[in-house]
Structures are given as structure tokens and as C-alpha cells.
């Protein structure tokens, strides 16, 4: 019990200090706002081009595809807030040897590395995404409370999957010190989540479900929101989340055994 309180208190001081540091750069707020709305407008434009040929994309209606785009934007905003500022820094710790200090702290090192900072610059994306999801899913017919709850649970699972993918890639820097932009690769390939997974050819669909679980990130929660959630997919999503998180934890424990500090 005391340790939960300890972690909660640590989190509060982590985030208040990093927020104070980030707010030193007010220009970033403007840049982020412009970039969020520019990206959203561009995505809508391309989506509308894709719909020019017919009324569906891989069997999805316009509103359904908007829900998927909204979920993608939401995950992207959360990435900017939490994942990117923390996990892209692991490699710097390895390169400069400051990981030693992290490992010595009386707090779980994975927790410290994953939550040390928070950036407010993902908030515009999160806000815009929530508005888009609410608007598009209400146009497609409001989901029942049970389905809404299921969608929230699936969204949580997709967040766990997303976090684990980021963490695994960032932790690989223990072995490949120079891979400072491995996380950028992930960001680029997850762009595939902008569109429902059934819009892709069958071979790619398989890759996006089993190898790089993009399908669980946006398509599965969107289906639940649109009232088409199935037990099989929900179970798959939960299983993928557990496997990914467990994998990230195991990898971190394993990686620490290989860590030999910067100068040795």
C-alpha cells in the first residue's frame, strides 16, 4: 500500500516538474495546434479521395472510417504526451551512461523510464480526436452503454500494446547503442492504423494483425464503438495486450543483465 502511494507521489512530482519545463516554450503550443489541425485536414482530404471511387473503403462507411481516423489521432496524441518524450530518451541514457543512475534509484526502472516526463503538446490532438470520434460515432448510431464500455476496454488494451511496442524498441538500445531513432520507425509504420485494416490486401492484413498489431490499435476498438464488436476480436485484443506487456517486461529484465554501462 505504501509503495502505491510512493509511486503516485513520484508521478505527481515527475509530471509537475516536466510540465513546468515544457511551458518554457510557449511557441510550441502554436506549432502543435497548427500541426494537429493540418494533419487532420490532410488525412480527411486523403480519406475523401479514397472514398471518391465508391461509398466504402474495405467495407467501411465514411463515418466508420472517421472513427478509425479519430482513434489513430487519439493514440498519436497520447504518444506525443507520454511515450515519445520518455521512451525516445532511453537511448541517450545508454549513450551517456546516465542509465546507471536510473538503475540505482529506489524505484522500478521501467516505471521511471516510462513516466519520468509528460509533454502537454499532445493535448490538442487528443481533444480533436475525442471530438471527431464522438461526432462520427454518433452519426453512425450511438453505441449502447455495454458496447461503449467494451470499446473503452479495447482502447485500454490498444494503449498497452502501443506502449509495449514503443518500450521494446526503445529498450533494444541497450544492445544497439546507436539506434536512436528506432522509435521513429514505429511511428512511421503505425501510420497504417489511419485506415481500417480491411482496406489492405489480405497479406498485409495478416501482417498488421499478427506481426505488427496495428489492427488491435484502431480497427478493433472502432468496431466495438460502431456496434460490431465480436468476442473473438475482443479476446484477441486482450491476449495481444497481455503478451505485449509481458514481453516488454521480460525484455527489460533480460536487458538489464546485458547492460555494462557506457565506458565498459
Amino acid at each position: 500500500m505504501a509503495s502505491w502511494r510512493h509511486y503516485g507521489r513520484s508521478l505527481r512530482s515527475f509530471w509537475s516538474t516536466s510540465l513546468a519545463a515544457e511551458l518554457e516554450y510557449p511557441l510550441n503550443a502554436v506549432i502543435e495546434l497548427v500541426s494537429v489541425f493540418g494533419n487532420l485536414a490532410g488525412s480527411l482530404f486523403v480519406l475523401q479521395l479514397l472514398f471518391a471511387g465508391g461509398s466504402s473503403l474495405g467495407g467501411w462507411s465514411w463515418d466508420g472510417a472517421l472513427v478509425v481516423l479519430g482513434l489513430y489521432t487519439l493514440l498519436d496524441g497520447i504518444t506525443t504526451c507520454l511515450l515519445q518524450p520518455n521512451l525516445s530518451r532511453i537511448v541517450n541514457h545508454v549513450q551517456t551512461g546516465t542509465l546507471d543512475y536510473v538503475l540505482l534509484k529506489p524505484i522500478d526502472s521501467q516505471f521511471w523510464l516510462s513516466t519520468r516526463t509528460v509533454s502537454p503538446w499532445g493535448l490538442p490532438a487528443i481533444g480533436a480526436a475525442l471530438a471527431l470520434i464522438a461526432w462520427a460515432s454518433s452519426r453512425a448510431g450511438l453505441p449502447s452503454p455495454a458496447l461503449l464500455l467494451l470499446a473503452l476496454a479495447l482502447l485500454l488494451a490498444s494503449l498497452v500494446i502501443l506502449y509495449s511496442l514503443w518500450f521494446v524498441l526503445a529498450a533494444l538500445s541497450i544492445w544497439f547503442v546507436k539506434v536512436w531513432n528506432a522509435t521513429e520507425v514505429l511511428r512511421q509504420t503505425l501510420v497504417a492504423g489511419r485506415y481500417p485494416v480491411s482496406a489492405y490486401p489480405p497479406a498485409l492484413r495478416l501482417v498488421f494483425t499478427l506481426v505488427l498489431p496495428v489492427a488491435f490499435l484502431t480497427t478493433v476498438p472502432a468496431e466495438a464503438l460502431l456496434g460490431r464488436g465480436s468476442l473473438a476480436w475482443a479476446g484477441g485484443s486482450l491476449l495481444a495486450a497481455i503478451l505485449c506487456f509481458g514481453g516488454s517486461r521480460l525484455l527489460w529484465l533480460h536487458a538489464q543483465r546485458f547492460y555494462t554501462s557506457a565506458s565498459s
Binding site: Y25, L27, N28, I31, V34, S35, G38, N39, G42, F45, V46, L49, L50, F51, A52, G53, G54, L57, G58, F176, K178, V179, W180, N181, A182, E184, V185, R187, Q188, T189, V191, A192, Y195, A199, Y200, P201, A203, L204
Partner: protein
């Protein structure tokens, strides 16, 4: 005499930067992998009827996006990220003492990175050919030659555009954030995510008035063997370069006067 000296400097720079890039080959593999966006978009477009609506055959679509993939791989510019760090950490100061403008060093680094990408991209294409044998084709010598020249021209245009943004590093500690804004029109107007033929005529005219379509759409269509006005394309790239060159030079010199080596 001057010419021989210039050649010696260029060779020394290229050889040393190439050796440096080979040290980073794991990272370059990841960089190359992060350029898969055109291939993802190929998946979406080949599944949607929108291409046929714009009068594009499936073969044209796949050749266009494969060419766009190649163009993207060899026109990557990361000057601003390296320069921001060099300026912030004071590494720029020793470069400025040398009798060589620092930008040449960065340009050589970009060319070396392109050279070290060649085998990686070849392997990626080979893998693609194994998975989907119908996708690859051999361009005619004319379109291959013109396409390769156009790729280098597009790279120079992108480099110059980023030089202009990079000089803002002298005034702001976070100029790299501005590059994210520039990435938005590049993403949506260049033809990276949708062929320009599918744009509504008004949007297409607007896009053609910006430098972005000449960075992807023009070289990609040359490479894919489409009907392109090559003279107009090269003239447009040259015109944009001639416009950016004096702006970049002026900003660079003004920035240098401001530069006081961070921390001094």
C-alpha cells in the same frame, strides 16, 4: 588549382562521411524501414476503387507508389535535427574555425547516407519482388536515367528548403519543431500519399504552385514511365532552388553574426 583543391576536399569529406555512415548501418536499416509509407499507401489504394475513378490502372498505381518509395528513400533530409544538436552543444564552433563552410560537411553526410542506403533498398525491393512478383518492373533506360537525375534534383530542393528552416536554429532552441510544420504540406501535397491525378483540379493547381509536388510526384512519375513534361519539371525545381538559395544564404550569414556558441 582551386578546382583540384575543391576536388580533394570533396573526396576527403565524402570518404570520411561514408565511413562514418557505415558505422551507423543498423540505424540506416531502420531509417530505410521507416520510409515504407508509400508502400502502405499502395496497399490502401490498390484495395480502393478510387484509382480507377481517376483513370489510373492498377499497374499504374503500383508503379507510381513503388517509384514514390524509391524517391522517398533517396531524398531524405535530416539536416535540421543534426544541426540543432550541433548548435546547442557547441559542436558547431570548431566547424566554423575550419576554412570550409559547415554546410558542405552536412551535404556530404547526406550524400554518403544515400550511398549507404543503396544495398538496403535493393534488399527491400528484392524481398518485395519475392512476396509479390508482379510488382517489380524494369524501367526503360530513358526513364531510369531521367528519374535518377530528378531524384537528385528533388533532393537538392529539399535540402535547400531545410537549410532555410535550419538557419532559424540560430534564433530559437527548438527550430526542429518548425520542420514538423513543413512536413505536413510535404506529406499531403507532394503525392506521397495520393497520386496528384486523383486530386480535384483546383487543389491540384494549388499544389503545383508549391515546391512540394516536384519533390515526389515529378521524379516518381518520370521513374514510373508516365507522360511527364520533363523540361517543365526540371525548370520548376531550378526556379525554386534559385529562389531559396539567396534566402538561405542571407539567413545563414545573419544567423552566424548572432551565434555566440551556446553557453558563452
Amino acid at each position: 588549382m582551386r578546382l583540384r583543391h575543391g576536388w580533394r576536399v570533396a573526396r576527403a569529406l565524402l570518404v570520411s562521411q561514408y565511413a562514418l555512415m557505415l558505422e551507423y548501418r543498423a540505424e540506416i536499416v531502420l531509417w530505410a524501414l521507416s520510409g515504407v509509407l508509400p508502400l502502405i499507401m499502395l496497399g490502401v489504394w490498390s484495395g480502393s476503387g478510387a484509382g480507377a475513378g481517376a483513370g489510373l490502372s492498377p499497374q499504374q498505381i503500383s508503379r507510381y507508389f513503388l517509384s514514390a518509395f524509391l524517391v522517398r528513400q533517396f531524398t531524405v533530409v535530416w539536416l535540421i535535427h543534426v544541426f540543432e544538436e550541433d548548435a546547442l552543444q557547441g559542436r558547431l564552433s570548431p566547424f566554423l574555425l575550419q576554412p570550409l563552410a559547415p554546410l558542405w560537411r552536412y551535404l556530404a553526410a547526406h550524400f554518403s547516407e544515400q550511398a549507404s542506403r543503396v544495398p538496403i533498398v535493393a534488399i527491400m525491393l528484392l524481398a518485395l519482388g519475392l512476396v509479390a512478383p508482379g510488382l517489380l518492373w524494369l524501367p526503360s533506360p530513358r526513364s531510369l536515367l531521367l528519374g535518377l537525375v530528378a531524384i537528385q534534383a528533388a533532393f537538392l530542393l529539399r535540402f535547400l528548403l531545410q537549410v532555410v528552416v535550419t538557419t532559424l536554429c540560430f534564433w530559437s532552441e527548438r527550430a526542429a519543431a518548425l520542420d514538423r510544420l513543413l512536413l505536413i504540406p510535404y506529406l499531403f501535397l507532394s503525392g506521397l500519399v495520393a497520386p496528384l491525378e486523383t486530386f480535384p483540379p483546383a487543389v491540384r493547381r494549388l499544389a503545383m504552385a508549391t515546391p512540394f509536388p516536384w519533390m515526389v510526384d515529378f521524379p516518381a512519375r518520370l521513374l514510373a514511365g508516365e507522360e511527364v513534361n520533363a523540361t517543365l519539371g526540371f525548370a520548376a525545381i531550378a526556379a525554386w532552388c534559385l529562389l531559396l538559395l539567396p534566402i538561405g544564404r542571407w539567413l545563414w550569414l545573419a544567423g552566424l553574426r548572432r551565434y555566440s556558441a551556446m553557453g558563452a
